[in-house]
Structure formats: C-alpha cells, structure tokens
C-alpha cells in the first residue's frame, strides 16, 4: 500500500485545521469588519455624528430656546450641521450595506464550502469503507480456500470422511464471500477482470483437483499445489488492486479538500483585503473630509466666523466644503452688517438722546421768558395797557404754556420708547385706585361715581402701567365733565383666552369712524376750547401697551361715552 509523503500529510493537516478555524472565524471576522466603521473615528473622536445625539445639544441653551433662536438670523448656521449629519448618515448606511453584503457573501461561501467538504468527505469515506469490506471478504476467500485445501489434503491421506469438515465449511462460505466482494465493487473493469480470474482459478482448483480427490481419484499433488498457487496469486492481485484503489480514493479526497481550502482561504483573504482597503479608503477619502467640514460648521455655529474649511475629498464633499465657505462668507458679511447697523443705531440713539436732552433744557428757557415776561407785563403794567393789549398778551402767555406742555409731552413720549421695561406682577386695580387719588383735583366740585372692579394680575412695568391708567382716567374724567353723575368704570373681561382691561365712561364720547386716529400723536377729536389737551396721552398709552406686547383699541359713540380697552400678557401664577 502506497503511503502519501510525510510533508503532504503535514501540510494537509495544517490546512485542515486552518480551514476549520477560518470557517468558524469567518463570520466573526466579518462581523468585526462592520463595526470597523466606528473605528473610522481615527483615534480622537467620533467622526460620523449621529444627527440625533451629536448635534442637538447647543453649548449654551435648552432645546426650546434654540427652537426660537434658530429662527433668528444670527443662529442660521446651526441649521447646517444637521444637513451634513444627514449626509454622514447616508454614508454610514451605504457602508453598512456594503459591509453586510460582504459579510453575507462570505458566510454563504463558508457554508457552501463546509457543506461541499462534508459531502465529499462522506462520499469518499463510504467508498473507502466499502473497499475495506471487499478487501476483507477477499482475504476471507483465501481463508476459506485454505480450509478447503486442508480438508482435501487430509481426506486424500486418510480417506476418512470426517476430514472433509473444513472443506465443506470453506466451500459453503465461498459464494457469499464472492457476492460480498462483487457487491460494492467499484466500476473498474480491470478489477472485475481480476475478480473473474480469481473466481476462475477457484473453479479450476475445484474442478481439476478437489472434486476428483473427493470422487476417489488420486491426482498428482503437484497439480493441486500449482492450481492453488494460481488461485493465491490471483487473490493477492485482487487484494493489491483493492488497496491501490483505496489509496487513489484517499488521494482524491485530499486533493478535493486542499482545493476547497485554497478557495475558502483565498476568498477570505480577498474579502479581508478588500474590506480593510475599503475602510481605509473610505476613511481617507470620505470621512476625513466630512469630519473637517463638520468641524468647520460647528466652529462657525459657535460664532467663530473666520473658520473656512479646506475643501477636500470626493467631489460631493468638496462641494459641501465650498458651500460652507460661501455660507460662512455670507454669515460673516451679515454679521458685519449687523454690527455696523447696530453701531449706527446706537449712534443715532445717542444723538437722539442728546437732542431730546437739549430740547428739554434749551427750548424751555426761551419759552419761559415768553410766558414769564408777558405775565409780568400784564401783572405790573396792566393799567398802562388797553384791554385788547392785555388780552393779546394773555394769548402770548397761553401759547407759550401750551408749547411748554407739548414739549413735555413729546419728551415723555420719546422717553417711553427708549426706557427699559422692568416687568413684575402688578395688580391693575391698585394702580387704578392710586391714579384716581392722584387725579382728585379733576373730580373736585363734581359728582363722579367710580367703580374699580377686581382685576386679574398681569405682568407689566408698574410705573408705565400707572402712566397708562393715569392717561385713560384723566381722559375719562375730562370727557365726562358735563355729566351728573359721571360714571367711570375700571374693569376687565376674558376674551378668547386673553384678559381685556378697560376704562369706560359716560362722557362726550367720539365719532367711532375716527376711533383708530385717537392713538396717533397730537391726534385729537375735540376742540381745545371744549376740552384742553395736547393729544399725546393715548399715543403714549398705546406705545406702552405695544411695548408690553399687548393691544389697545377704543370704542365710543358721540355723547354716549367711550371705552378704551387693552390686553397685557397674563402674570405667571406663582
């Protein structure tokens, strides 16, 4: 029997072991290859941001705040990273798909190879086992024949029937032995020929030697020996052939295995090389430029407007980089413009302040001279003047007084626009009562019935809200001057979720067609001979309410009183 060379067995064993390991490891390797994607992190930080977690938190605030601020111009940059996060996620998905496919392919390949190997091995194993059975049956033919020959030789010497017992046993067993050998005989014609030859030799021995001896003849023992040797030779030939056949089968098995192993190993190596290469290339070509852009956008979002990413990587990513640069330029410009606009505004504001300061200071001094000296003239030199001259001088004085009032009111109006609001929870009913007390002079000698209802608290600047009520109540008192009794009601009602505060009176009222005009500066619907005033009061009230984020409106009818209503943000319950 020919043994394969030692090196072949060694190599075969190594390959077998390696193959088994690899077949088990192959899914593991590929599983490890997919999480390789996070290893694009290139050491320091996660490169592919999860758009939901990485970009949502801002350095400075809550999400709600951000939602509001996002709508403002300054924070527009924040919107950019989410786009780039989206594209990163697409890249992630693509990579995941690619790697999963590769993994599935390799697993499939592994399974197919495993199954193929198993089936080939079991086939060959069967063949080898059958050959072994035949080999054994062939050997037993030799044993049986030896028994038969022993029996014949004993009978020939003793002519005693009892010596034929081994002969009978052997002869009886022979057909079954041949059947066994023939049963699984591989379809090799040469082997069949050899077996036929063996059978022929057996028959020849029986025909030409054993049976004649048993029949009583005494043939030449040399003939018997010759015939038996011929049988023995052909039996050995069959045995040898079977051995060789077995050997060939084992070789075939080994060859198949080596081929399979080489295939699997090759595929694995190729898979690993391709996977690693893809990972490296992806990292270098796609993820790294994307990271750079993401970093730049983040830096821009944090207000470092000088940041400009260096466009790199594939065309799409470069395009993102260029777009970010354009965006950053624009942001920069907008920020510059805003800064200079703010500076201009600040300057204008400062100038306005200086202007109103000097108006309040310098315009009043000459006016005081006009009113003062005309007053002194009338007082000190009345008897030197005609009645008409006195009247004219009185007019001069009144004109000066009126101009003084206008200046004061205008200044107050301008001031309300500039003043900082300090909002607190205030109780309008208390404020209204205070105002009524302050305006008691206007109520003297009149019959005025005031009704201050319970009013819900609100969030407002107390001093400014007092100014609102002072103006509304002074109007209500002024324009109800002719009534007896005058009714003034300070109340509130709920309207579509908001609280409406109102001041109503039963005074002179106004033509409702001009209701919207009341809130303009110097807009008056009554003559100053009838009702004095500058026409700034309601404009001032409207300005205050609007600065609080509320609304104000007027309802009225001529001679049927007026109602001024306004809304204010409701105080948070505390």
């Amino acid at each position: 029997m020919r043994r394969p060379p030692g090196w072949f067995i060694l190599v075969r064993r190594c390959l077998l072991v390696a193959c088994d390991r690899m077949l088990c490891l192959c899914p593991v390797c590929l599983l490890a290859a997919v999480p390789m994607e996070p290893s694009f992190t290139s050491g320091d930080r996660t490169v592919i941001p999860d758009a939901d977690t990485d970009l949502a938190p801002t350095p400075d605030g809550r999400i709600d705040d951000r939602g509001v601020r996002n709508r403002r111009a300054g924070d527009r940059a924040v919107a950019v990273p989410s786009t780039s996060g989206g594209s990163a996620r697409r890249v992630k998905r693509t990579l995941t798909t690619a790697f999963s496919t590769l993994l599935a392919f390799q697993v499939l390949l592994g399974i197919v190879c495993l199954l193929a190997t198993i089936s080939v091995r079991s086939q060959v194993h069967n063949v080898v086992r059958n050959i072994a059975a035949e080999r054994q049956a062939n050997d037993e033919i030799l044993v049986d024949m030896t028994n038969a020959e022993t029996g014949v030789r004993g009978y020939l010497i003793s002519r005693n029937q009892s010596f034929l017992a081994p002969y009978d046993t052997g002869t009886a067993a022979l057909p079954a032995r041949f059947a066994t050998v023939e049963q699984h005989l591989p379809g090799d014609p040469r082997l069949r020929g050899r077996l036929a030859a063996e059978r022929a030799e057996v028959s020849a021995w029986y025909r030409d030697y054993a049976r004649p001896v048993i029949a009583g003849a005494t043939p030449d023992p040399a003939d018997g020996k010759r015939l038996f040797d011929a049988f023995r030779a052909s039996q050995a030939a069959v045995a040898d052939m079977l051995d060789r056949h077995r050997e060939a089968k084992i070789d075939e098995l080994n060859r198949t295995q080596v081929g399979t192993l080489a295939l699997v190993a090759g595929c694995l190596v190729i898979g690993l090389v391709v996977g690693t290469r893809t990972a490296v290339v992806t990292t270098r070509r796609l993820v790294r430029p994307l990271t750079a852009v993401t970093e730049a956008v983040r830096s821009l979002a944090h207000g470092r407007l000088v940041t400009r990413p260096m466009p790199a990587g594939p065309a799409e990513v470069q395009e993102v980089g260029w777009s970010v640069n354009v965006l950053a330029d624009q942001l920069d410009r907008v920020a510059d413009e805003r800064a200079s606009a703010a500076a201009r505004l600040q300057k204008a504001n400062d100038e306005l302040e200086a202007f109103s300061y000097s108006v309040s200071h310098d315009l009043r001094a000459p006016l005081r001279a006009v009113t003062g000296f005309s007053h002194i003239l009338v007082e000190q030199h009345a008897d030197e003047m005609s009645e008409q001259a006195r009247e004219l001088l009185n007019r001069v004085e009144r004109g000066g007084q009126r101009m003084g009032a206008l200046i004061d009111d205008l200044l107050a109006f301008a001031h309300v626009g500039r003043q900082e609001l300090t909002k607190t929870t205030v109780h309008p009913a208390d404020i209204a009562r205070e105002c009524l007390a302050d305006l008691s002079a206007e109520q003297e000698g009149r019959h005025v019935e005031t009704l201050v209802e319970d009013l819900p608290a609100c969030l407002a600047d107390p001093a400014l809200l007092k100014l609102v009520y002072t103006n509304l109540l002074s109007n209500a008192l002024k324009y109800s001057r002719g009534r007896d009794p005058a009714h003034i009601r300070i109340g509130s009602h709920a309207e579509s979720g908001a609280t409406v505060y109102f001041v109503s009176d039963n005074g002179a009222g106004f033509d409702s067609r001009y209701a919207h005009k009341l809130f303009g500066v110097f807009q008056r619907l009554h003559k100053s001979e009838q009702f004095e005033g500058t026409g700034v009061g309601l404009a001032l009230a409207a300005r205050i309410i609007k600065r609080h984020g509320g609304q104000i409106w007027a309802d009225g009818k001529i001679d049927q009183g007026a109602t001024i209503s306004f809304t204010l943000p409701v105080a948070a319950p505390s």
């Binding site: 300061y357 200071h361 001094a365 005081r368 009111d409």
Partner: protein, 175 residues
C-alpha cells in the same frame, strides 16, 4: 425780619431766567441781598473769595445757593460737588434749578447731596411758586441752629425737604 450779610447766591447763566427768579423773589425783601453770578467758575470764585471776588466783604457764605444745573465753564454738578466736599460750605443749602427733567441729573444731584431740586416749569405762575417756596423755605425755616431759637421746627432732612416742582401735566411727571 432783618437778614445780615448775603442771603442768596443765584448761579444762573440765562439772564431771562435770572430776572424771572429775582422777580419771583421780589416780595420777600431779600432783593438787596441776592447776588447773581453767570457761570460755575464765577460761583466758585465768589464762594471761595478768589479771582475777581478776592476782596468780597463780608466774606461769609450765603444762606442759600440757587444753582442752575447747566452752566458754562464749570457745570452745576461740579459746583455742587465742590460745595459739598468743603467742610465750611457743606452746611449751606443748595437748591438745584434746572430745565432738565432727565432722571440722571436728578439722581446725580441727590447723590452729591443737593438739598432740593426744582425743574423750572415753563408756566410762570408755577415757576414763581416753586422758586418762592424753595427760597423762602431754606432761607427762613432752615436757619442754622446758632442764629435764632424762634424757629424751633425740626430741621428737615434734605430728602424730605425736596420741594421739587412737579409738572402739572398728567403724563409729564417723572419722565
């Protein structure tokens, strides 16, 4: 009531306002003892008897100083500061007169220890009332304790005594 020496120092650059102030004080028999200076530097010269006032006699301080806030050369607040920083002058009541309603001026004046603050109204009647009450208040009610024991009324502190002429317009006040 006879008043020795100088009663009132009026520091006012606007001659109209100075005349109107003097007119407002006309009935109070102090006309002869009101001295008018027209800028802050002159006021300081007067108070410290320096410059053109080097030989002013009697050299004592006035009983009341009516000080305009906006003055050429040395501004009213600076004059006020040097008065209130000087231990000899500190007890002299200073009434700030101004056309300005600016809150920062009011605050600055009170911080520097002004005794009273009057926003000069355009209306002469109100102006007259404000000047007269302030001048008379500090001149007669708030006499130094050494001088006389007749007016034993408690000395009002500067805060309470602030007889600031409030504007009559309902929406003018305080802004």
């Amino acid at each position: 009531m006879s008043v020795e020496g100088l009663d009132i120092l009026l520091v006012e650059d606007d001659s109209n306002d100075a005349d109107l102030t003097l007119y407002a004080l006309r009935d109070e028999k102090v006309m002869n003892s009101v001295h008018v200076v027209s800028d802050g530097a002159e006021a300081l010269d007067f108070l410290y008897c320096t410059g053109s006032y080097a030989d002013r006699r009697p050299a004592g301080p006035p009983k009341v100083i009516l000080l305009d806030l906006k003055l050429p050369k040395v501004d009213g607040l600076e004059v006020l500061k040097s008065i209130k920083d000087d231990p000899k002058l500190r007890s002299v009541p200073v009434v700030m007169l101004t056309s300005s309603q600016e809150e920062r001026d009011v605050l600055a004046s009170y911080r520097l220890g002004v005794n009273s603050y009057i926003v000069k109204p355009v209306d002469f009647k109100q102006f007259e009332d404000a000047i007269r009450s302030a001048g008379m208040y500090w001149l007669f009610l708030n006499r130094p304790p050494v001088r006389n024991s007749v007016g034993s009324a408690p000395r009002p502190t500067s805060g309470e005594a602030a007889c600031r002429a409030e504007d009559a317009s309902p929406h003018g006040g305080g802004l």
